[in-house]
Symmetry: C2
Subunit: 336 residues, 2 copies
Amino acid sequence: MAVSLRDVAVRAGVSVRTVSNVANGFAHVAPETRRRVQGAIDELGYRPNSAARQLRRGRTETISLVVPEIGSPYFAELASLTVRIAEERGWTVHIDQTDGHADRERQMISGPVGRSVDGVICSPWAVGPEELSRLSAGPLVLLGERAAAGRLDHVAIDNVAASRAATEHLVATGRRHIAAVGVQPHLHNETARLRLEGYRAALSAAGLPVPEDLVVPVTTLHRPDGAAAMARLLDGPHPVDAVFCFTDELALGALRTLSERGYRVPEDVALVGFDDIEDGRFARPSLTTIAPDKAQIARLALDCLADRIADPARPDRDLVAGYRLLVRESTTGDLP
Amino acid sequence: MAVSLRDVAVRAGVSVRTVSNVANGFAHVAPETRRRVQGAIDELGYRPNSAARQLRRGRTETISLVVPEIGSPYFAELASLTVRIAEERGWTVHIDQTDGHADRERQMISGPVGRSVDGVICSPWAVGPEELSRLSAGPLVLLGERAAAGRLDHVAIDNVAASRAATEHLVATGRRHIAAVGVQPHLHNETARLRLEGYRAALSAAGLPVPEDLVVPVTTLHRPDGAAAMARLLDGPHPVDAVFCFTDELALGALRTLSERGYRVPEDVALVGFDDIEDGRFARPSLTTIAPDKAQIARLALDCLADRIADPARPDRDLVAGYRLLVRESTTGDLP
DNA sequence: GCCCTATTTTGCAACGTTGCAATGCTACGA
DNA sequence: TCGTAGCATTGCAACGTTGCAAAATAGGGC
């Protein structure tokens, strides 16, 4: 059925090995032979069998990107960039989705590595760092989460500094009752923890109190959660004049609730998000946000994984990607 | 380095073949033997080498999903569903992104099929249907686009009927100057053509004229294009009291422009989108849209591909998935 | 005890490719 | 004319797995 090297060899009247040499661009092939073999390859439509090649070479040139969900804009954009950059380096990317299930996460991390893929880039969700490093069966780079024992490579932005910057921006625009939406007490979510830390640090530095009621937990990080959290804040005992949401999606949900209830943004309540997803840029008002350098994250993760694959024993690294605070209408309110 | 059947066999004191039998749950293995072998498998942490397995079995149990871009919410949601449903059927999905480049599209369609994947589901963009069917080197199911010669399987909603329904809804709410945004004259985009057809049919049926200036072409289908198209409409010679956008992203861009210029939606201009992406549900006003049944699309495509793989010679099919018109604030304006 | 059948275990070969090393070949200089 | 160097080509083996069919073992009836 499928055309193999043998078929081409017979057709061209040479050995299998010579066809392999031509197919792989090996230097020492006579021009005439090369022409003949190439002709046979084209005629028969030969394409290498990747399974056989992998088996022989021991490399797949494929990596896996494990994310909680591709449907979420942040991960979609990140995945998109990762695929594009990986391709420039001759890698194929296999995208896997865990849906936030711990089991699937474990499976994706301990499963394919060293078998169908050369390495894994994972943005963990439900599984804690120490278990991750225990499970890992091959080259693994974590996004966001820092491995507890420092036994894994790791790429992230400085979440504390970024969150602090976001909160300080709210303080600087005169806000005094600043809420935070996005902690997830039920999960091993170090990212949320760090963002909370940055938020608290900014408030302390400004001499503002942090009523516990203004820190609102959520189940997931999507729009409906943000909408519900905002409702809870508005119905609560404390006044609120600003909200720092740990993701843009949460902020967009909050924006919706505010709008429904007739609050003006930012005059009554200012909003800051996190991630810089495209929806935030086009929302009305557009969303002030922390923009992690996603391309840099993807690039660093791929670099890091390449190094790790090249030398499994090398010391692990914590790589830090950049971010920017993008000030838009949801805090400054210069609507046209 | 990696543990193979041989290693386990030595450890358990049985033949390689017996280990294979245990690993694959073959029935005729003595309980005691099974226990011993399983013990060795667990101890050594054996995991099958998928390349070798593929080589031997001739199947990869992997399919490829080729989309223009994962970063776009519609494709992200569709990919997410496809991955989830495929997994229930024991398939792994490899997501590939073409960025709308014709070359990459050709490559993805003619490349991996029958080699690293068992089949391909492709949402074509730049390459025309007749070329697609010529290129295809194995089981291939198209999304959206109908293959010219009818030589390929195909899954889509009834774009003409859906667009007609969307436009008729605008007519029914009293609109008389209805624009369409989203044709792409520079591409082989059959979907856009069909949606235009539905739009025209609805207007004709209502006895409304279709000034050519009200049909606005776009380069891509993203928010910025929608924003620019809306600006062009507002600056144009014709009055506009409604816009049917061929994607929700376009509509969200248009919404932004309208809002910036002080138009009220839907009082001054009503908007209908297409795709039912999450952003549209939470926009303000929320977006009236055509919601294709994405889960059904994914399911039909996977069914169809499975059938095609099972019997490459079977007659091709055009499968039609459902859709619904979701009426929201951007046309009815019942803002709370 | 012996034969026949059913169960359990095994050896061999092959999937398509490439690393290794050996072979044949040509051309050049002595 | 011969030796040698360098290029072109080749055969063999192996990667880890599973299909096939044979072999070994156990079970049962006479």
